[in-house]
Amino acid sequence: MINGQVDLDDTIHQPTRLRIMTMLVAQSPSDRLAYPFIQRTLGLTGGNLTIHLRKLESAGFLTITKEFLDSKPRTWVEATPEGRRAFTDYLSNLLETLNWKPPP
């Protein structure tokens, strides 16, 4: 808590990265999403998506795997357990900031 404000993780608390992490964490653990699927769903350019994926990857929140599917190169993105934990913490802090209380 800083000055009465709850501290939100800066790596996640950025519009594009928040949406990327939401997409990844909304999947079951060990599920992975195709790079073009994330790009199309979030309406991002390839360059923009790559920059934010690298930032999240360097924070250890996701892994990027390249492999061949039906003889075509595919890039897969998957949230790491650490990334899922960070997102859960972010969500708890966000709810605290919003003063949300679970129903009795």
Binding site: L8, H13, Q14, P15, T16, L18, R19, T22, M23, A26, Q27, S28, S30, D31, R32, L33, A34, P36, F37, R40, T41, L42, L69, R74, W76, L91, L94, T97, L98
Partner: protein, 207 residues
Amino acid sequence: MQDAKRELTPEESWNAIHATFDRARASMYIAGVTNILLYSGALVALAFFTHYAIETLAPTFASDHPWYPGIVWGVMGALAMIVNSIIGHRAGKKLSQGDTARNAGIRVFAFWMTVVAACFLIPAAAGMWNSDSGEMIPGVAVGVIALGYILFGILFQPMLVAVGAGLAASFYLPGHFAGDTALAFQGAATLTVCVLGALWLRRASAS
């Protein structure tokens, strides 16, 4: 871009999480829908044209075998279900790998299986499976399929609501106004609706 650099307020973050979750889920449920529409349009049009060709070129065969449309439409329906499932499965595999995509695929398949079953069961419950009212069954089936598109569109992709309405209009309007050539008009109109729907969806997903 400017907007993306600005820090989000907590309320905006909360809304962004919900909007992204909904959008990702909907994208997964409509995987492959563009190709499915194109393929379905071609198949349904082929069934209409086959039906029309038999009625006009072989009227004796048509009157001797009054149940032949059931075979034509049954074969087309089975083919459509099998190929559409394969297209949807392959498209889903390209988007995501794991339980979430698999569950989405199973739900979509179950939804359309229910719609197809309703095409048979509703006329059966209404006592229409007989030689007197059998020719009204396609009208019921098209209405059920159009409603399927409308419901699926309301849930996941609003453009499919227009496709559903278009499919219904493609069948019912020529049926009322085109007389003997209704089957040919129905085939052409259905194909047009499916192609336009697919182009619209492709354009929307590219923008």
